[in-house]
């Protein structure tokens, strides 16, 4: 069983049932997990910021940095392995904030809003979501079962 590790601003996809895709310690960043149970294709995106207009050049170099460029890239990468949009199961986790959130540190909230807007615009339903609050989350997608697990800092691993 190999672990495919998704770094910050990174995408990993797989159709290998022996693999697990994992991203560690999401803070304000968001992890998007998609899985097509028929094609048995899955993928994970770990994006950092909501909006690619911040730095268009960076977004071209690495679309996975931003929600609005990363989410389409994740879906397209999965299509290339035979996944289809209508069958995709979508789960999201992350977008945490520090305590008594002020304007300056609102990146977690902005990341959540951006992702919901993009899915809504594209008629994609979010099947499960664990976002907000103030803990880190580690997310795993087990390719053998298509199940997604979330572990919060200091907490137990739970299926999402």
């Amino acid at each position: 069983m190999g672990d495919l590790i998704v770094g910050i601003s990174d995408i990993k996809i797989s159709n290998n049932p022996n693999e697990t895709i994992v991203t560690y310690a999401l803070g304000s960043c968001i992890g998007i997990v998609v899985y097509d149970p028929v094609a048995k294709v899955g993928g994970m995106l770990h994006y950092m910021l909501p909006d690619s207009t911040l730095d268009a050049k960076k977004a071209r170099d690495n679309p996975a940095m931003f929600a609005d460029t990363g989410i389409p890239s994740l879906f397209k990468a999965c299509y290339s392995l035979g996944a289809e949009k209508k069958r995709m199961i979508v789960k999201v986790a992350g977008g945490a904030s520090i305590l008594d959130d002020t304007n300056f540190f609102r990146i977690g909230q902005k990341n959540i809003m951006a992702m919901r807007k993009i899915f809504w615009k594209n008629n994609v339903m979010i099947n499960a979501e664990d976002t907000g609050a103030n803990h880190n989350r580690t997310v795993r997608l087990e390719m053998t079962s298509g199940k997604t697990y979330v572990k919060t800092s200091g907490g137990e691993m739970k299926e999402l």
């Binding site: 910050i8 520090i98 300056f104 803990h135 880190n136």
Partner: protein, 283 residues
């Protein structure tokens, strides 16, 4: 309080801070320093020498020449980069064992410390327009208290988590309630034990609450605070602390910054981190 006495006593048992960094800083501050003089101070410390050579060739320092000796490093890195490389190499010694209790992996505290130092560097250039080697050192050391606090935290973790979860304390406040001291204050005391200048001591001791330092003209604690929170938001080395951190609302107005400035700085940090693997991998 018994734990507090034990914690404070542990400071005495820490090995002395390597003098190399301070000696080199003194030499480089003179306008007529010679490459040979500087190289001679560093050569005296073999572990630092090896680490400097490893780091000097990283993409982060952007040297145009291959650096294969300390003389090369002194010639090609430039004063400020050389000092940063020396401080990184010297400080990494203390982080080898990590901080059990806070982190599962020994390397996490060091990765976090380097990231906060890189981010402080980015923010200080953005805010003041200048590079500040002292601030870089303070940022590298901001969590040094954790190397002692770790084992005490481990014993009291249940109590601390209860306070964080049910009383909505920040992790720092819970540490102080349970152990009588928090890791930031303890770090300030360690820096004092090592004879660091007062501005570095303050930046460490107030890195979670810069608003409590009664010297409002000092910007170092604020920048280290901002860099630390930014790295924690990115999930770099949070350990058991998670995001149970206080937001200090004055931050924005104080530096006339917008959310966009922080976001752009995060983009720069991610690029620096890609180029600075050698700095993180020295331990």
């Amino acid at each position: 309080m018994k734990a507090l006495n034990k914690i404070l006593k542990s400071i005495e048992s820490l090995p002395a801070f390597p003098a190399t960094g301070n000696k080199v800083a003194q030499l480089l501050s003179k306008p007529d320093y010679s490459v040979l003089q500087v190289a001679n101070v560093i050569k005296y410390d073999p572990s630092i020498t090896a680490n400097i050579l490893k780091m000097a060739n990283s993409a982060y320092f952007k040297s145009l020449h291959k650096i294969s000796s300390i003389n090369d490093a002194v010639m090609y890195l430039g004063q400020k980069n050389l000092l940063r490389a020396i401080q990184t190499a010297g400080i990494s010694k203390y982080y080898k064992k990590g901080a059990v209790g806070y982190f599962d992996n020994a390397g996490d505290l060091w990765e976090h410390s380097v990231s906060v130092a890189l981010m402080s560097h980015i923010l200080s250039k953005k805010i003041t327009g200048e590079e500040d080697t002292t601030m870089y050192t303070a940022a590298l050391l901001h969590d040094v208290g954790k190397i002692i606090m770790g084992e005490f935290i481990r014993e009291e973790m249940k109590k601390i988590s209860m306070l964080v979860t049910y009383q909505h304390m920040s992790f720092l406040e819970a540490e102080e309630t349970v152990l009588g001291i928090n890791h930031a204050d303890l770090g300030g005391k360690i820096a004092e034990h090592w004879n660091f200048p007062v501005e570095i001591r303050d930046a460490i001791a107030f890195h979670h609450r810069p608003d409590l330092l009664q010297k409002s003209d000092k910007i170092m604690p604020w920048i280290v605070y901002m860099a630390d929170e930014a790295c924690l938001m990115m999930g770099i080395g949070n350990g058991v602390e998670g995001l149970a951190q206080r937001a200090v609302s004055e931050l924005l107005q104080k530096f006339n910054l917008r959310m966009r400035d922080l976001e752009l700085s995060l983009v720069m940090l991610s690029e620096d981190l890609n180029n600075a693997r050698e700095l993180i991998n020295v331990i």
